[in-house]
Amino acid sequence: MTDTLLALVPVYGNWLVMASVALSCLALPIPSSMLVMAAGGFAAAGDLVYWQLLLAALAGFVAGDQIAYHLARAGGAPLIARLGRRPGSAAVLGGAQDLLERRGLLAVFLSRTVLSPLGPYVGYLSGALGLDRSRFSAAAAAGAVTWCLAYSWLGYAFAERIAEIATLIANSVGLILAMAAACGLTWWLRRGWRAQHQAA
């Protein structure tokens, strides 16, 4: 699997990088971090040009983020408005919107760097809950620059080890997703546990 993906990078070059990064911003299961890192390795070898690769990854990231945000804003806003009219969910939604307003930019930045597997979902939520577009774009772009530089540089600096790094990245993404799911479920169960105790 890893070898097949690695073989695609020198064949399709920067277009593959741009398309994979953009699609992964829409939550499609594409290992874009692995592809950008591998492209960095091939750039170090001279098959690709580093600055072009960086620009391609960045363009894909920004485009993908904007598409996710606007899709969610157009399609998600009516859904959120309908949910907001329900007495039970209005308070939860209000809380989520408050949180996004207060900590949203940090969440957007973190979800594009250290917690990048969560990036698409934060993008969709930001659009659906109406986070200010320019603030979202600024935080997302800062995260995108950091992410693109980090992964491409990793491959460039450790070009001889891209297969090993690719395996490490694939497992790290799995670890982050599993941890996020465990944290989310723990939080939800804990809330139910507390509610039960308060009711008793």
Binding site: P10, V11, Y12, S172, L175, L185, L189, G192
Partner: protein, 121 residues
Amino acid sequence: MTGARRLFRFLSRRHPVAALLLALAVAAGLGFGWQVGIATTRLFAPPHAERPIEPWMTPRYVARSYGLPPSIVFSLLPADPHARPHEGPMTLSDVLGDGPELERFRHRIEAARAEREGTSQ
């Protein structure tokens, strides 16, 4: 009833699906964490454990990995040294296939490296 027992009853009776999903997420996290540990160990393994030539590699990548000038690697291959992505075969698999030609190329690269190391000493 002890706290642990009450928690178990709460999870198994009120939220069995969520509890199962949580157990699966924790198990998956442990599995991925173990794999991350192994991959990290391999990443920092000494250079003698270097990766052999693989079909996904390009001639320039082989040159870089084996410390050889690209001209030497391209002289051992029926490939265009100026080819870029979209312009022709890029990987060793495209140029040589995965069969005996690739194996012969591996031996030639080993010989070229040994010769180069011999002349530099």
